[in-house]
Amino acid sequence: MGATVSHDDHGHHHEEGFISKYIFSMDHKMIAKQFLVTGMMMGVLGMMLSIFFRIQLGWPGEESTVLNMFLGDDWAPNGILDRNMYLGLVTIHGTLMVFFVLTAGLSGTFSNLLIPLQLGARDMASGFLNMLSYWMFFISTCLMTISLFVESGPAMAGWTVYPPLSALEEAVPGSGLGMTLWLMSMAIFIASSLLGSLNYIVTVLNLRTKGMKMTRMPLTIWAFFVTAILGVLSFPVLLSAALLLLMDRTMGTNFYLSDIIVGGEMMDYTGGSPLLFEHLFWFLGHPEVYIVLLPALGITSEIIATNSRKPIFGYRAMIGSILAIGFLSFIVWGHHMFLTGMNPFLGGVFVFTTLLIAIPSAVKVFNYLTTIWKGNIVYTPGMLFSIGLVSTFITGGVTGIILADSALDITVHDTYFVVAHFHVVMGLSAIFGMFAGVYHWFPKMYGRMMNTKMGYFHFWTTLISGYGVFFPMHFVGIAGAPRRYYDYSVYDLFDKAQYEMILDLNVLISIFAILGAFAQGVFIFNFFYSIWFGQKAVQNPWKSNTLEWTTPVEHVHGNWPGPRPEVHRWPYDYSKPGAEEDFIPQIVPLAEGEEDH
């Protein structure tokens, strides 16, 4: 670890070979880039899978050469998607997006990049653990990808992998080798996440530069910090859930199994409970939502303030709401289980705690609105995506109120209404946050600028297609259309009017999904093109206050060639009356008579 941790005030400048610089790097900036590119690749894969099942949902039963080309004759004979593979696609799409893209891709990238840079640290507390964290993540992505090519198919029990479906291969073929790989991949992923989170927490607590009080940290860091704490406290629970499931599958235990006859075979399991798994899973699963969302909100806070040229409104309230959301996220998991047979009284308690989360969330939204009010908005692509995030956070957030209300959840539980809700509030918002972060910090990562015009095109097409996909889903769901259905032909038996509506809306949704996917091609092109051919960046392109923009454009090991910067003020002194410029970096000492925030 010696080469990386540098509490002293001298940067390291030693030559490195290709392998230690680009592959087994212990430099947080390189690791951030590794997380980003791996996360993007998983994102492309996850999106492709979603297009495959959207083709099935939009045009059920029609032959598709695209499906046949990618999935082959086994899984898409004559271009018609196999029923089991449909479930496999849904499952792996969810797993990849939630864990690999929006947890590792988002948090891994920006926590790694920004925690040392914005705090004035030379690197993470442990560069070695940081490297280990990335490579374990990489191995887990490999295992998950490999599981797509297993003969009996990938895991098919939905991303929540509820047993007994996920425990018994007689129940669904994906619960054979595919599920074993899923569990192994997730176990390694969790280890990776824990290493990363521990590192982030220690770095934030110990390695802040002189003057960087906790109340002077940018909101990005606050968000990453709380996210890391959530991860450390909740991921181990998923690990134990996964290990118990693995034991049920391979060692003959029955933690989750009881009184089962499957595939005509009478099993002799007694005393296990599938509800145990659901509790353990959602004990992680709900904090996970905020593990995904908080970094995106942190990124947005920073970008909105910078590009509105205004301080973020209510800095302390923003910190307070991050902490409140973080705390509450641990006592709401039961709202996923209102209708599982859990005691209804307990359900009532979870209604109360869940709806409480709406309060800090509302505070955040109103604070964002007040920040852009009377601002001087500069429309960088990052800013556009941040505003998009606020919109999707509102739109997706309000439907959460219906789902959190157990009485109303009875009708919409496990329907497309839920799919719409979490895709808008968690999928779109988090991915918008990630895009915003990439556009904003690309100059810091690669020393070049991304193309703005392409960024505009990317934003507007993504916003329109994102809403185009997920808004109509609310209506499909409130009609009572269950999720994870291969097709809706059963509706033909009981309500033709609804059947037609579902068919129509599904076509619309699929078309927008395909458009949206193509729009992401523009982003990916822009990203890789700009790495090599983009315009060279200047040191502080967005005229921002935070410390990362005081480092040289060319990366140096240890971040600052000279001594570490000293911080004298909070990061949001934009357009402060009396100042010449509309920004005052954190390293500028307070003028005489000037008040700190």
Binding site: V262, V351, F366, Y368, D405, F475, G480, S489, K496, Q535
Partner: protein, 393 residues
């Protein structure tokens, strides 16, 4: 194969072409001295106007969807609690729609108004305790209302059923539903998954002395059969199959042992509630205005009993009983007239991922008037006549 090759070439050429265009753009920008980080006034104005245009488009579409699809074309609630729940749902939708329009309007309006242009400046406004208090307190009050109304409804829906609620069991397995009516005594006979046996018409594992004895014999026969296969000289199995067969013998032996223990302490009076139970595999028939208490069970994996028209849902979980109660209020015939749809039916859908045919796991539900229902239920054979009498023959 050829088509794939051509597609690949087109994609590669496309990327090259776009790269060249981008290159031209970069060079032109360089000549003009324009930098990516300097967002021009015209770009700011363009995006600000787009924000406004998007808002109009977005709100217009949302209003169109509300008027066109409303509650997703779901017919009115056909149960007592469903009517109240719909009222609550509409109230909640009204509240969230208001919040949605209000906050999204402010967002896009500010975004379109306060863009950077020549001479514009931002207003330094870091915090204001009064404002923050307002938007903490107001959501809290609204949420308090939502929580109180919601919990009131929830407690009623999940509370104990009245004494004249009729008990019906719904049994789920991949990929079908089976119903069991409790008969005249309104008590469901006991069950034991180890007794499930389709050969003797006992798909739900209803417990009686006879079904227990028969099942023990049947399982013993299976064990003998399996052992014979294993010991046979003419049959050779692959290692893993042979291992599985050994396991199966062990497993079934354990099941038999447990059943024998249970039989030893069995009290014949437990037979009685089971005798008049009626197992129904076709449509589920319900009597209008009759409260029902459903008991749910699952045979293999978790399923979910979802009755969208009655606003009712409950998971079915292997190894435990779950419950839900509701009272249907509109007969199928009346609903067909209301909807002017001769083919309309109530339905029970599976709403928890359960395997390949998840989307085809359903049971149609008929809500009958009293006379029709009574005639129908009288026709259904009892457990005694379909199983016990047959076995005793």
């Amino acid at each position: 194969m050829e088509s794939k090759f051509i597609i690949l070439i087109v994609i590669v050429l496309g990327i090259v072409a776009i790269s060249q265009l981008a290159r031209v753009y970069e060079l032109a920008a360089k000549l003009k001295g324009k930098k990516e980080e300097d967002i021009s006034d015209s770009d700011n104005r363009m995006n600000a106007r787009m924000m406004f245009a998007f808002m109009i488009l977005f709100f217009g579409t949302v209003i169109y969807f509300y008027t066109e699809y409303g509650r997703g074309l779901l017919p009115e609630a056909a149960s007592v609690h469903g009517v109240e729940q719909d009222w609550l749902m509409n109230l909640n939708i009204f509240i969230i729609t208001t919040v949605f329009f209000l906050t999204n309007f402010l967002l896009f309006f500010f975004a379109s108004k306060y863009y950077k242009r020549k001479g514009s400046k931002a207003y330094f406004f870091p915090h204001d305790n009064k404002l923050e208090l307002i938007w903490t307190v107001i959501p809290s009050i609204v949420l308090a209302v939502i929580i109180i109304l919601g919990l009131k409804n929830w407690n009623e829906v999940t509370g104990a059923p009245s004494e004249d609620a009729e008990k019906v069991e719904l049994y789920s397995k991949q990929f079908s539903w089976t119903a069991r009516y409790s008969g005249e005594d309104n008590v469901l006979g006991d069950f034991n998954y180890k007794l499930v046996n389709d050969d003797i018409n006992n798909p739900l594992g209803v417990v009686t002395r006879v079904t227990m004895e028969t099942q023990i014999e049947a399982l013993k026969a299976k064990i003998v059969d399996e052992k014979a296969k294993l010991n046979s000289d003419s049959l050779v199995f692959a290692d893993d199959i042979e291992y599985k067969m050994h396991k199966k013998v062990e497993r079934l032996s354990r099941v038999v042992r447990r059943l024998e223990e249970e039989l030893a302490s069995y009290n014949d009076s437990l037979d009685i509630p089971a005798l008049d139970d009626k197992i129904v595999r076709g449509d589920l028939h319900l009597k209008v205005n009759q409260e029902y208490e459903f008991q749910f069970r699952a045979e293999d994996v978790i399923h979910s009993a979802y009755f969208p028209h009655f606003r009712a849902q409950m998971n079915t979980v292997p190894g435990m009983k779950t419950r839900f109660k509701f009272t249907p209020t509109i007969t199928t015939k009346e609903m067909r007239e209301k909807l002017q749809d001769e083919n309309f039916n109530y339905v029970l859908l599976c709403n928890k991922i359960c395997g390949a045919s998840h989307s085809n796991m359903y049971m149609l539900v008929q809500v009958d008037d009293e006379a029709t229902y009574d005639a129908w239920i009288a026709e259904q054979p009892t457990f005694k006549s379909t199983v016990i009498d047959e076995l005793n023959k």
